[in-house]
Symmetry: C2
Subunit: 66 residues, 2 copies
């Protein structure tokens, strides 16, 4: 299985786990909608910081103001 | 292996394959840098449209003007 875990960067630089087993991701307005294999959905007001499919890791960071 | 193929949405809606076996993705300035398992790198002036890890599919679309 190729799902990934989603992490959100904290102000102190730590990457906090916010959702496991994410298999789908798409923008929803200005936010990102993550879905996992358990049917859970998570809306993040964040932008993508890094994807590493080898590490099964999706890292997000708070969205920068335009 | 959990790499994905990267597609870029065309004006006619088709999703054109632009890179195979991508395993890493990160923003590089205002563009996105994709890297594949063959050591190739691709800079896309695009934004993420959709990720489906089950389908091993990363879909991008041309960046909308701010």
């Amino acid at each position: 299985m190729c799902e990934a875990n989603a992490y959100l960067r904290q102000p102190d630089g730590r990457e906090k786990l916010v959702m496991e087993n994410v298999y789908r991701l798409r923008p929803e307005g200005r936010r990102l909608l993550l879905e996992n294999i358990f049917g859970e959905q998570l809306l993040l007001d964040a932008e993508l910081a890094r994807v590493s499919l080898m590490e099964h890791r999706l890292v997000f960071q708070p969205r920068r103001p335009d």
